[in-house]
């Protein structure tokens, strides 16, 4: 097993036969709906369907009928994971990596089907759905390779008469609390990191996407991960809360909203009876991501870059751009082109290759976007929408993408994470003013800069608080191994998923110092 890593190639959707394969996969999966998603603990499946995931574009279509995990399931899962982790963690990193790599192979073999599942369960457009599957494969293979690298341990200072070694030991049980917007990729990433380093994992997927999570757990079990080492615990917030509070959980890997993330950090800090360790929390939370456009930017690049960053997957990515801070010299020209380009965005079903903006995940998300747009308009901002008349018929959670021009700098619409297709455009006098506005933000996940001056780029990169800065391109689309991803400030704990130091969060370093002197002789 080598440590060279290559990203899984995306499907070449510009070729018609590839598109036809996906359409066929979707038709095939539609015939199998609804998918039963059980609780899986120690290899045992328990099915008593209690909630459902639905197609956001056609909410009457039930995608999965899932069994919510009970408190007893959570207890059993944590106990099984703790027990299995002892054997799993004792295996060599190479052995664990081989299992994860096999799991990646299982996902690869089902990639068309899994992309279709993400289209159905999360209304993820094809290209994004395919990218989600690829990223899941990438996480498995990347962390597999990284775990082997980590096992060697770092070099320490050695002096005559003593031997110092440092090795990393798995922390124990990892609770993974995953979001729906990258239903395979992010659940897989956090799970793979825990398993690669020898932990047992209890996975609580988002209630909106249990079927995608089931595919992951099946792949891991089929690949030879011990049955106890991976549990599937579908359910709502109470399942996650039970895991967080559980004395047997050592590490909590969470991706989701800021409010939930802060609550997890609070709860995890409380030492409960029976707990003999401090819990560690890895939290990837929200963003309020700004793209700055300098006067020398190429607007031909800026317009598509902004559109894709703000409205791709209807803005439902933590990396999505929601504020454009534009140098006043080009603000008018850019705004005119953006408004015109907004009209070209096609709101439609995720399964249509022509769709630019798919439906939102649920009705409350649509209401949230509409509320912010209405409030901004009431406060005097100019709000441009694509024609509401062009929205598709039906009960899908479609929303017209919105451009909010000249909002007040302290309005909620420029402060809060909205997680929908809404972009504010704010003229700034210069880059200094743009930086000052960004500086006041609580979030610092991604950022963008369009500039053609190398000095500007360098100075901005030094100053920006964000975890991931994208220059002269859109602000989404981080790739495993190429753009390790994660935010600062209230956007997260500063860890970088898909990067070389991520696995350190899942292990504890142990140093052994041995005196090698016997009878005055170093042996």
């Amino acid at each position: 097993m080598t440590t060279t890593f290559r990203n899984e190639p995306l499907l070449e959707l510009r070729r018609a036969p590839e598109r036809e394969r996906l359409i066929a996969a979707l038709a095939a999966i539609d015939r199998t709906l609804p998918i039963a998603v059980p609780v899986i603990v120690d290899g045992e499946r328990r099915s008593e369907p209690s909630f459902a995931s639905v197609d956001p574009g056609e909410p009457r279509r039930v995608v999965a009928e899932a069994t919510a995990a009970s408190p007893a399931d959570v207890d059993a899962a944590v106990a099984a994971a703790g027990a299995a982790a002892r054997e799993w963690g004792a295996r060599s990193a190479a052995e664990r990596a081989a299992a994860l790599t096999r799991a990646a192979g299982h996902l690869r073999a089902r990639r068309h089907e899994l992309a279709a599942l993400a289209v159905r369960e999360c209304a993820k457009p094809w290209a994004e759905a395919d990218a989600d599957v690829c990223e899941a494969i990438d996480f498995l293979e990347y962390y597999a390779a990284e775990a082997i690298r980590l096992e060697a341990g770092p070099a320490l200072v050695q002096l005559p008469g003593e031997r110092n070694t440092l090795h990393y030991r798995p922390r124990g049980v990892v609770a993974v609390i995953a979001p729906w917007n990258f239903p395979l990729a992010i659940a897989t990433g956090m799970t793979a990191a825990g398993l690669a380093t020898g932990n047992g994992v209890c996975l609580k997927p988002a209630e909106q996407s249990p079927a995608c999570a089931l595919a992951l757990v099946e792949a891991l079990l089929a690949a030879g991960v011990p049955q106890g080492a991976i549990a599937l615990l579908p359910g709502e917030g109470d399942v996650g809360a039970a895991l967080v509070a559980h004395p047997g959980v050592h590490t909590i890997a969470f991706t989701g909203s800021g409010a939930v993330g802060l609550e997890i950090l609070r709860r995890a800090a409380e030492v409960v009876p029976g707990q003999r360790h401090l819990k560690r929390v890895i939290a990837e939370m929200g963003g309020k991501n700004c793209i700055v456009v300098d006067a020398d930017a190429d607007l031909d690049d800026v317009v598509p870059g902004l559109l894709h960053s703000a409205f791709g997957f209807a803005g439902q990515k933590c990396s999505a751009a929601s504020r454009a801070l534009v140098h006043e010299r080009v603000a008018e020209a850019l705004t005119e082109r953006l408004v015109g380009a907004l009209d070209t965005l096609l709101v439609g079903q995720a399964q249509d290759f022509a769709t630019d903006v798919p439906p939102l995940i649920e009705a409350s998300a649509r209401e949230r976007v509409e509320r912010y747009a209405a409030e901004a308009a009431a406060a005097g901002a100019v709000v441009h929408r694509t024609g509401a008349a062009l929205l598709p018929d039906g009960e899908g959670h479609f929303v017209a993408p919105a451009l909010v021009l000249h909002p007040s700098p302290d309005a909620d619409v420029v402060r809060d994470e909205i997680f929908g297709p809404l972009l504010t455009v704010e003229p700034v006098a210069d880059l200094e003013e743009a930086c000052a506005r960004i500086e006041t933000q609580a979030h610092a996940l991604t950022g963008g800069l369009f500039s053609r001056n190398p000095r500007t780029i360098e100075a901005f990169a030094r100053r920006t608080p964000v975890g991931n800065l994208y220059v002269n391109r859109g602000s989404t689309g981080a790739m495993v191994g190429r753009q390790p991803f994660g935010g600062n400030r209230l956007s997260g704990t500063g860890t970088k998923a898909g990067g070389p130091d991520y696995l350190l969060q899942f292990v504890e370093p142990v140093v052994v110092t041995e005196n090698t002197v016997r009878h005055g002789v170093a042996v």
Partner: protein, 499 residues
């Protein structure tokens, strides 16, 4: 997190930014090439084995003709052009200076004045300060006393270079040059430069400019003197007015994954242009761009030309890119269509190597795809010759599509001319195309040889033309470019030998 990277419709004028990034990170580029070469090794070997060598007796003729064209074009070369060429060759030798030049030309239209341009210039040259010429320019661009002058000089230099490649800011301003070319034995094709189209209004404005150009050029061309060689081939009259249009400039809806969207939108604007071209007796040529839009463009054009109202005109054409591995399949598709869709005049096929090699290569690498283009230039050259012969055969045997061979590579051109003669075609039955600013000497040599040439003439303002300009500069200074190696003697013979 991850999405399928950035996939906006890559407009006609934007591919060079990718090329520029290659210039910025040259080691990456070299590695990428090696990776492809390894990955494609087997395929390449097979392709090499399959490539039929042209008949030897033609090869001698090709070399002789190539030498004659080289001699004629060097005799005809303008002194100032030659100096510019030498300057560019000098620039091309240093990758860092070359990158700085591209970046400067690229950003020039966005700068508010000489001082701002000077600020960029000094930033671009910051990394190459030890080199003499660059160091002087860099210091001048920083010093308060000379800053404005340095920026002004850079502005003038950029405009001078743009003037070489762009024949005028508007069709009206270009008419004198176009007529002069015609009088000197060169037909023209006009290309209206523009910024990327991201809104429907921009698409409509471009269509209106095209329509206006067709009308104006037709009125003007009616007064040009007769040039029989340029006006008739075996299939009948050849329009004097020839306009090249870009589909990505007509519609902002080009989506690689959903070609039907852009096709419907572009058809609504292209149809009136075809009617106008038919009514004023002009030729409309639809350019090819990156692979992301090929399916859209090809199917759009073939579909429109199949409509009954266009059965008797206008003259129209498409482009075939020999650097694509499937160029021959595409040609067969077009030939099949032509056979099934008899119309007068026949479709023109302009054969090019292709201008988006860097874009295609980078996009494939970033997505983990096999590159759709040949990774070795010699493979493109071979494919170009195979497609040339197929085109000329189809013309000689069936009068299927009018061949137009567009290249500055003497070997490629000489091969086409000699093969056409070998097939018994008259000089008027083979069109040879060159680019304004790059192929001018060559065009003169072709005219002197009694051959039918056409010069592709961009029209537009400096801002709009900048991207085109950068692409031309890139071509002119690329190591692979035949133009960069204007040589004689044994070196010339090597370049004229079969690829």
């Amino acid at each position: 997190m991850r999405s399928p990277a950035l996939r906006p419709a890559v407009s006609a004028e934007r591919h060079w930014t990718f090329a520029q990034s290659i210039l910025g990170i040259r080691p990456w580029s070299a590695n990428a090439r090696q990776t492809y070469d390894r990955a494609m090794g087997e395929l390449l070997t097979n392709a090499l084995a399959e490539a039929p060598a042209p008949a030897l007796e033609l090869d001698d003729e090709i070399v002789a003709l190539g030498r004659r064209l080289a001699r004629r074009s060097s005799l005809l070369r303008h002194a100032r052009r030659a100096a510019q060429d030498r300057g560019m060759a000098l620039v091309a030798r240093d990758p860092q200076v070359r990158a700085a030049l591209f970046r400067l030309v690229d950003v020039a239209p966005a700068c508010a004045g000489p001082a701002e341009l000077a600020e960029h210039l000094s930033a671009f040259l910051a990394g190459v300060e030890r080199r003499t010429v660059a160091a002087v320019a860099s210091r001048a661009a920083v010093a308060p006393g000379t800053r404005w002058a340095a920026g002004r000089a850079a502005t003038v230099a950029v405009r001078a270079m743009a003037g070489r490649f762009i024949v005028g800011e508007t069709p009206a301003a270009a008419t004198r040059t176009l007529r002069s070319l015609w009088e000197h034995g060169a037909a023209v094709s006009v290309d209206l430069l523009g910024e990327a189209t991201v809104t429907p209004a921009e698409g409509r404005a471009y269509a209106a400019r095209c329509d206006d150009a067709l009308v104006r050029l037709a009125a003007d061309a009616a007064r040009w003197p007769a040039r029989p060689l340029l006006e008739t081939d075996a299939a009948g009259p050849l329009p004097r007015v020839n306009l090249s249009v870009k589909v990505t400039a007509l519609t902002p809806l080009v989506r690689a994954e959903a070609p039907e969207r852009g096709r419907a939108d572009a058809a609504a604007l292209l149809r009136p242009l075809l009617r106008r071209a038919r009514d004023v007796g002009a030729h409309l040529h639809i350019d090819m761009e990156s692979l992301d839009s090929r399916e859209l463009i090809l199917e759009l054009v073939l579909e429109l030309l199949s409509e009954p109202e266009f059965a008797a005109g206008p003259s129209a054409g498409i482009v075939l890119q020999a650097y694509l591995r499937d160029a021959e399949e595409t040609l067969e598709h077009v030939l099949d269509w032509s056979r099934a869709t008899p119309r007068t005049p026949p479709l023109t096929v302009r054969l090019v190597k292709g201008a988006y090699w860097d874009h295609e290569t980078i996009e494939a690498a970033q997505h983990g795809w096999d590159p759709p283009v040949w990774t070795e230039k010699v493979e493109s050259d071979r494919c170009f010759e195979r497609v040339t012969r197929r085109l000329l055969d189809a013309w000689a045997d069936e009068r299927l599509v009018r061949p137009a061979i567009a290249s500055h590579n003497l070997r490629s051109i000489a091969h086409a001319i000699v093969y056409a003669r070998h097939r018994g075609l008259a000089p008027a039955d083979l069109e040879l195309q060159v680019l304004r600013g790059l192929g001018d000497d060559l065009q003169d040599a072709l005219a002197a040889e009694g051959l039918r040439g056409r010069t592709y003439c961009p029209v537009g303002d400096l801002v709009a033309g900048m991207a085109y300009l950068v692409r031309r500069l890139l071509e002119n200074t690329s190591n692979d470019s035949f133009l960069a190696s204007r040589v004689g003697g044994a070196e010339l013979d090597r370049l004229l030998s079969a690829p």
